[in-house]
């Protein structure tokens, strides 16, 4: 329900929809069995007219504001356009695929570097958020589902509530909590930790942790790593992990998404036959064993779904960056979505902005594709669903 989980989730989400017994005849059979009096053909025609009338608002809105924009942006991504003239005339400065090669080749200079940094940032964000939110959501679901826990309603509400509120409002709260002299650091002080200046700390988590145990100095890059690199960034930068500032956004994401995913797990857990688990317990299996061998396998499809939704949603992080950090410090919270936005509206470089949007689209589509194909080898439900309508 969280904003960043919206959109793009549908195709993979379909398997979770309990497909209702629609009957093998399917909707296509509706008109044909119509009552006597009117000819079959007449009804079909009538349905044809009304059908198109019924779907026309959808066709117009989605066509104008989903399909057309994509086509226009595809054109703009091939232009050098500063936003101050009409890009849809012959006067447009056509540059071919240069905007794309600028992103991936060192010829792109600063554009290339910023894009690679944004990819790195988002990659670490994905690598941390997806496992954390999945495991946490599963844990919460198991806890709330536990038969020994009475009065679980309020708890479920507490876990779910952050998911339905506005991402902007939540980010505002987090901005306050994670200030240098804010509530989080005040809490940390109680347990004797002096918290970092969250939003100004550009140090990578990896080097900070290694630094804390004395292995490296986060401020002095190891020469062997800093001197060489690939794709515009040094190895030191690639391996740094998310910055401390990015960690606050990661915490925010995990906190706001785990509730929704918990509900998905809960729904699935209710479908796991209780007798099966009890049988396992009677057979002498420990609770851990019964979880591992009975519950988790039964949850496999939902885990797959949650991971997929997570992977798609996390590549779209934007709102929190806009409110909390605007890419700072040291570009460590810059994400492709935010970079696309600023390239366009701030630097008036709409060509690169559109190109970044398309690369992002490609990444997300690729993730979906790979995951759908990956899943248990057999034709997925979505494909079956599509097939049924063909």
């Amino acid at each position: 329900m969280r904003k960043e989980q919206q959109g793009g989730t549908a195709a993979v989400a379909l398997p979770a929809v309990r497909t209702r017994p629609t009957g093998r005849t399917g909707p296509a059979g509706t008109g044909r069995t119509g009552p006597g009096g009117r000819s079959r053909r007449g009804i079909r025609d009538r349905q044809g007219r009304w059908g198109w009338l019924f779907v026309s608002p959808m066709v117009i809105v989605l066509g104008l504001f989903l399909l057309l924009p994509i086509l226009m942006a595809l054109w703009v991504s091939l232009l050098h356009w500063d936003g101050q003239s009409d890009p849809f005339t012959s006067a447009a400065d056509f540059v071919g695929v240069r905007n794309y090669t600028d992103l991936f080749g060192s010829s792109g200079g600063l554009t290339h570097q910023l894009f690679m940094i944004s990819l790195r940032n988002n990659l670490y964000y994905v690598l941390l958020v997806v496992p954390l939110q999945t495991v946490l959501a599963l844990g919460l679901a198991l806890a709330v589902n536990s038969r020994r826990l009475r009065r679980k309603g309020p708890l479920r509400t507490a876990f779910f509530f952050p998911s339905v509120t506005s991402s902007i409002a939540i980010s505002t709260v987090f901005l306050f909590l994670f200030q240098g002299s804010g509530a989080v650091n005040a809490l940390l002080k109680w347990v004797g930790i002096s918290g970092p200046k969250w939003f100004t700390d550009a140090h990578g988590l990896v080097w900070s942790v290694l630094g804390a145990v004395g292995l490296v100095d986060p401020d002095k890059p190891v020469h062997a790593l800093a001197a060489h690199g690939v794709l515009g960034l040094s190895w030191w930068d690639w391996l740094a992990g998310p910055s401390i500032a990015m960690c606050t956004i990661i915490v925010l994401a995990v906190w706001t998404t785990s509730g929704t995913f918990m509900l998905m797990f809960l729904a699935a857990l209710q479908d796991v036959p209780a007798e099966l688990e009890e049988q396992a317990t009677v057979d002498g299996a420990s609770r851990w064993q019964s979880l591992r061998h009975v519950t988790l396998p039964a949850l496999r499809p939902v885990i797959f779904l949650v991971v997929t939704l997570g992977l798609i949603g996390t590549w779209q992080v934007f709102d929190a960056v806009y409110v909390m950090s605007q890419g700072a410090p040291g570009n460590t919270t810059l994400t492709p979505a935010y970079l696309s936005y600023t390239s366009g509206f701030q630097d008036s470089d709409y060509g690169h902005a559109a190109a970044i949007a398309f690369v992002l689209l490609a990444i997300i589509m690729l993730v979906q594709r790979v995951l759908l194909r990956e899943r248990d080898g057999q034709p997925s439900r979505i494909r079956r669903l599509l097939g049924r309508n063909r």
Binding site: G48, V59, L68, S85, P329, F345, Q346
Partner: protein
């Protein structure tokens, strides 16, 4: 003809219609509104309530006199909001144009050229007129100018046992007092992590980002390395911090909330201090000199009028009201900027002796880089400066050199 075919047809019709009412007009000027009462919109990038209220009051006075109406809005992020509205073909009628973005907008033909319509155009200094001319034409009337100076909290100064004799005039002195004023709760010097402020050290060391003609990059000069090395040293010692490190948004806020004993800021500081922190006593001093002598930065803004505005006559009338000598002095009094008109500048210096340091800087201040396509390069430089404490000044400057040269080469 049935509905089945009608629907796609309707869609195509909508698309055609769309083509006609396109927001991206390539026509440079729009149709002029000839009605008696006109409604104008003004967008400003404000330093705070003092500035916003002063502009609102001036606009209201003009509206009352002429019978038109004006809405003044303060943008949170002027560059972004203006860029989006220009690209969207719905710009405000009158807006601030910084000298750093002027070239971009003039090049894109977004600004209405009205300099010749001002009878007093020679009352602006040559350098100001040059800053806002494009292809030899004087485009928009300079609004005001600002320079950077050092502001110190007088109470903290005394508390630390310092006197007027200790006002820093050199880098070592600045470092000494900054360290002395630093305590667990107060930072000696708080300066924005931006070349717009830290650039003063580059000027004082004899360097700058480009050569005077803005034809070549000079970012990796030894003078610039020296300047950033000094800043880095102060950062390392904790005597200098960036505003975010003390939970504030800019140097003025750090001074006002007494988290900083000193800051380097422009004239706009005085307006913000007066309206937001009237109880905090401070004094404005000239910046210390470096090895190459005095150096400060100078910023100017002009009253841009959108080519797309339908009220050009009224717009110019409004700008004339804004740039009248008494009005410029009122603005100057309200939020501390220097008047753009030479005849007003003399009156200003006499009236506000406390701001002498700002006015003096006007004669030698370095203007910002005004090359098209440089916003990204300079934004990256600012990002790098934010990480200066743990980075190598040489690396930062050589990447600026590299990025700037590339941007120069591509011509924006």
């Amino acid at each position: 003809m049935n509905v089945r075919r009608a629907a796609p047809a309707a869609l195509c019709g909508a698309l055609l219609l769309a083509g006609c009412s396109s927001g991206f007009g390539s026509d440079s000027s729009s149709k002029q509104d000839s009605e008696g009462k006109q409604h104008l919109t003004v967008m400003i990038g404000s330093s705070g309530d003092a500035e916003t209220n002063a502009v609102k009051a001036a606009a209201a006075a003009w509206a009352k006199k002429t019978g038109n109406t004006v809405t003044v809005t303060a943008a949170q992020n002027l560059d972004q909001q203006l860029g989006q509205s220009l690209a969207g073909g719905k710009p405000p009628d009158v807006f601030y144009v910084g000298s750093n973005t002027f070239a971009n907008y003039a090049k894109g033909n977004s600004l209405y050229t009205y300099g010749d319509q001002l009878s007093y155009q020679n009352d602006f200094s040559d350098s100001l007129r040059k800053s806002f001319s494009y292809n030899g034409k004087f485009v928009c009337a300079p609004k005001d100018t600002s320079t950077l100076a050092l502001a110190v909290n007088t109470a903290m100064w005394q508390k630390a046992g310092l006197t007027a004799a200790d006002y820093p005039t050199t880098w070592p002195q600045l470092e000494k007092v900054a360290k002395k004023l630093t305590s667990s709760k107060v930072t000696g010097l708080v300066v924005d992590a931006s070349y717009n402020e830290l650039g003063v050290f580059m000027k004082q060391a004899g360097g700058w980002i480009t050569d005077p003609g803005q034809a070549a990059m000079t970012a990796d000069s030894a003078a610039n390395v020296k300047a950033l090395t000094f800043v880095k040293k102060l950062l390392k010692e904790g005597a200098l911090k960036y505003p975010k490190q003390v939970d504030t948004g800019w140097g003025g806020e750090a001074l006002g909330t007494q988290k900083a004993a000193m800051t380097i800021e422009g004239n706009w500081l005085t307006g913000a201090m007066a309206s937001d922190y009237p109880k905090v006593g401070y004094k404005v001093l000239p910046l210390p000199v470096g090895s190459a002598g005095k150096g400060t930065l100078s910023f100017s803004t002009c009253w841009g009028i959108a080519n797309k505005s339908a009220h050009h006559a009224a717009d110019v009338s409004l700008v004339k009201a804004f740039t009248a000598v008494p009005q410029e002095l009122t603005f100057a009094g309200a939020y501390g900027v220097l008047p753009s008109r030479t005849s007003a500048l003399a009156a200003y210096s006499a009236k506000y002796p406390a701001n002498k340091a700002f006015a003096d800087g006007e004669s030698y201040g370095q203007g910002p880089v005004t090359l098209p396509g440089f916003t990204k390069v300079l934004a990256q430089f600012d990002t790098d400066l934010a990480g200066l404490a743990t980075a190598d000044p040489k690396t930062i400057l050589s990447s600026l050199q590299k990025n700037g040269t590339a941007a120069l080469g591509s011509g924006g």
